[in-house]
């Protein structure tokens, strides 16, 4: 590969990353603004609560996304591999099951916005029970998936922690 090819590919990569960032931020900003406007000017109290919960969920996801971005190019050269590997595992751990947690975060707000009014009307008890059991089942499933992934990553982190202790103390096995 020539240096021109490398430069071209690297610049294309940077452009793609910037474009993804702009799109992600734009989409979340749109979700936040649309729900905030709806909460301010339209709907019943249950709708408003639902919209505000959706705004909170979107804000949390946006800040999380900005926090766990890929390491900068400089970090690849500045960080010793042991620390870098540990950071990668921690990042992976933070991301583990995050998709499902994100889905869960949006469920209450969207549910209230969509069905809030119908929900507050008197309904047979079994409707409330089915909704409650369904949501609890979803939470349990998500938690189980998260814990399974967390166990695997914890084992790797434990190994790295032992390596770091040895690195700092100069102790050998």
């Amino acid at each position: 590969m020539t240096i021109d090819t490398i430069r071209e590919k690297a610049e294309a990569f940077d452009r793609r990353t910037r474009r993804q960032d702009v799109w992600s931020i734009a989409v979340f900003t749109l979700i936040i603004m649309a729900n905030a406007v709806t909460a301010a000017f339209h709907g019943s109290m249950t709708d408003k609560i639902g919209d505000l919960l959706t705004v909170a969920a979107a804000l949390y996801v946006l800040t999380f996304y900005l926090r766990v971005r890929e390491p900068s190019p400089a970090a690849l050269g500045e960080t010793p591999s042991l620390d870098f590997y540990r950071d990668q595992i921690l990042r992976r751990q933070a991301m583990a099951g995050r998709f499902w947690k994100v889905v869960l975060l949006f469920v209450p707000g969207m549910f209230l916005s969509a069905f809030g009014d119908a929900f507050v009307l008197p309904r047979p008890m079994r409707v409330y029970v089915i909704i409650g059991v369904g949501f609890a089942g979803l939470v349990v499933l998500v938690e189980w998936l998260n814990r399974r992934e967390a166990r695997r990553l914890s084992a790797e982190l434990g190994f790295l922690d032992r390596e770091q202790v040895r690195a700092k103390t100069g102790q050998n096995r």
Binding site: M1, I3, I6, R7, K9, A10, F13, D14, E70, P71, S72, P73, A74, A75, L76, G77, E78, T79, P80, S81, L82, D83, F84, Y85, Q88, I89, R92, R152, E156, F159, L160, E163, Q164, R166, A167, K168, T169, G170, Q171, N172, R173
Partner: protein
């Protein structure tokens, strides 16, 4: 952080490739058995190196920088893409095979090398990196600087990994 102007970055990149290009190719081969994935990894490493050199201010040697970028990029890709069922091994976990391979029959150098690489690929990323840097004839102090381990720890690891490779039938 201030970035180097593009011509300076190009010059550094060319220096790095002239000095360590062959080592980067060997590293990619040791990380990836599949030819296509190996080519992709090598390209990713070169791109990461070029991008990173904008921030290189001589805070460490160019060699240390190049090896860190290469191994860190390979590690981040392997953390992201590896098969979750695959369990990476610490040296202590590796049992020697019941019947060691007869080394006299291992006359094909290419196949022997591939077998060594296959064994190295089964190590956890840090052990893998240590032995690959050792095979590039770097001393313990330099390996320690690149990895963040202590020099004594590097020496111990190299010893154990070499013993493990021999027990598994690799020279």
């Amino acid at each position: 952080m201030a970035e180097f102007p593009a011509p300076r970055r190009d010059q550094l990149y060319e220096e790095a490739v002239a000095a360590f290009g062959a080592a980067l190719t060997r590293l990619a081969r040791a990380y990836e058995a599949d030819a296509d994935r190996r080519r992709d990894l090598l390209q990713e490493i070169h791109i990461a190196l070029w991008r990173s050199l904008a921030s290189f201010t001589g805070q460490c040697s160019l060699r240390t920088w190049v090896y860190r970028v290469a191994h860190n990029r390979a590690i981040s890709l392997s953390v992201r893409t590896r098969d979750r069922r695959a369990r990476l091994l610490a040296i202590d976990d590796i049992e020697p095979p019941a019947a060691a391979i007869d080394l006299d029959r291992a006359i094909d150098e290419e196949r022997t090398l591939e077998r060594v690489h296959a064994a190295i690929r089964s190590f956890n990323p840090i052990d893998r990196e240590v032995i690959l840097l050792y095979l590039e004839e770097l001393d313990a102090a330099t390996i320690a600087e690149i990895t963040g381990l202590s020099a004594a720890n590097v020496a111990t690891k190299v010893h154990r990994i070499k013993r493990s490779l021999i027990e598994r039938g690799n020279p």
